[in-house]
Assembly symmetry: C2
Homo-oligomer: 337 residues x 2
Amino acid sequence: MTNRSITIKDVAKKANVSVATVSRVINGLDRVSDATRKRVLKIIQELNFVPNTMAASMVNKKTKMLSVVVPEIQNPFYTAVIEGTVEVAKREGFFTLVLSTNGDESEEEDFLESFLGKNVDGIILIGSHKEAEFYRGIQKPTILVDRYFNDCDHDGVMIDNYRGAYEATKHFIEYGHERIAMIDGEHDFNDGKDRFWGYRQAMLESGLAPDPDCHKQGRWTEADGYRLTIELLQSKRPPTAIFAANNVLCKGAIRAIRDLNLRMGEDISLIGFDENELAQFVQPQVTVVRRPTREMGVQAAEMLVRKIREVPMEQGNPKCVVLGVELLKHGSVKKLK
Amino acid sequence: MTNRSITIKDVAKKANVSVATVSRVINGLDRVSDATRKRVLKIIQELNFVPNTMAASMVNKKTKMLSVVVPEIQNPFYTAVIEGTVEVAKREGFFTLVLSTNGDESEEEDFLESFLGKNVDGIILIGSHKEAEFYRGIQKPTILVDRYFNDCDHDGVMIDNYRGAYEATKHFIEYGHERIAMIDGEHDFNDGKDRFWGYRQAMLESGLAPDPDCHKQGRWTEADGYRLTIELLQSKRPPTAIFAANNVLCKGAIRAIRDLNLRMGEDISLIGFDENELAQFVQPQVTVVRRPTREMGVQAAEMLVRKIREVPMEQGNPKCVVLGVELLKHGSVKKLK
DNA sequence: TTATTTTGTCAAAACGTTTACGCAATTTCT
DNA sequence: AGAAATTGCGTAAACGTTTTGACAAAATAA
């Protein structure tokens, strides 16, 4: 424990060169003859020397680490994004550091102030803060994922929430549904809002007046998905179709429908946003809006790496990439006409 | 971007003290008068100074970060462990850094060699390596979770895999089952092995000869859980009961049973190891061996923090804590007698 | 009162790298 | 051949902290 770890100096001494030369060898720079390079390399092997990256980082301010910050690590959507970014990061020579904030704003702040937050080369952020202000304060290269804010000064990778909800609703309508409900959570972020507006727009376009009784709002939890679905189905005029605006709400809805002994796609039609395990399990499978989760992570990481490497001056205005979604049609929507 | 960040020196100058004094204020050491402390603190505020932890770490070799290394981040078991450790770490003033290795040994090694691996204060490791040798090479305070190796020189937090499997099998037997199958994956780690031996021992004790046809081994994937279950149920002499040795295998088994149109707890009995979403969803719910996932993370983190703080000399032999498991009895086991 | 301890502070030396600059020795160009 | 460019390497100054040792000044003890 007390044994001083071997440094670049030890190597230098043993190889009869200066520390500068050793440093050059380590970093694969030129200006060092083949002979000495070989010699130094051998000594490094012998001494089992590993450069102290911390010290290096102190001078050149690069750490080769990225961080990806997500609200909850238990949600498969986020882990899929994480996997995507980790893959790219690894390929590009970066390590990825994962942080779960539990949707807690102060935890997010703490992180950014912390050792880690301060020392990563870039950040992929699925933020919990609700104001652009906060994001503007982040000095490092940052890519916002899934939740975007205008005027936040950062690039983003989003999906077309509006379109997803729109298509889902249209699908119901094409199949003859008129009393179409939606369940969702707080409209804290653009994703939730957009989905609502997509739903609403599709309804309006088809001349269906949006009935306030058909829009149930709670939190984005499975429990609330369950509760809201029960409320809807036990109301005076229950809907024939329900659009569940994210994966956990959908799972709650599936449970509720099961518990009420209703036949999916027969007594009640359901579309979920984002794939989930239960939607794939029940029979018939539940029609869902599929979004490219892993791909979001991949895109974000690629953008981030590019940004890190680009010269600071020539970065243009923030760009926000919007990835498409797809309606995976299964048997949970009944054809009424 | 080019603006040099403000350092301890700037604070010192502005407060008319030496950098040493500022350092003492930051670290809350004594030997500094109340007056100067207040003054320095105020300047720090004004200048919005945040100490560069990287530089600090360079001299005192502490980073206040832990890492938790898991094989796959998509498995809810691992995320539960992570959540437990993050909670404790946070409480104790550590940041937690999550790394998913995809079960890839070399990725695990890379990590430990990397900036991150070298600079955390301690490691919580659900390892992918199969030999104690590797673990012995880790110099930092480390807690092995879920997978343990004798003579690895580290503490561990395990659960009683043997007992869990034993109890599950006994439960089948009590209910009159005799032809009891087990599906599992490679016996690369103690957890898998112990479960198998628990199953086997329970069978033997009850005078049931373990039939090799009743032990199907594949990989620890949902796909193999599905495949092996189908194989079992379509064999000449299908079992009346199946023990699925982990959460994903169990999910595969549930799907298989559903697809074969068998009634759970009626035509076929099933017990899973570890809770999972499908087991809770289907009706009747599937009986499972519950293990304290989150608690494992909590324990591990607490042990790790203790270890980090203890003086190096007085650490005794490696300890391995074994947490208990519990059989959650639901309706998936038919009573034959 | 004098001798001792405690308190508050500072200067300077670490910590382990990278890198700008300098200077021979060698190679390449006229 | 001489001038110019290139190559190979070393010296020393960063990077932003913590920590040790020294030393007055103040408080306490004798």
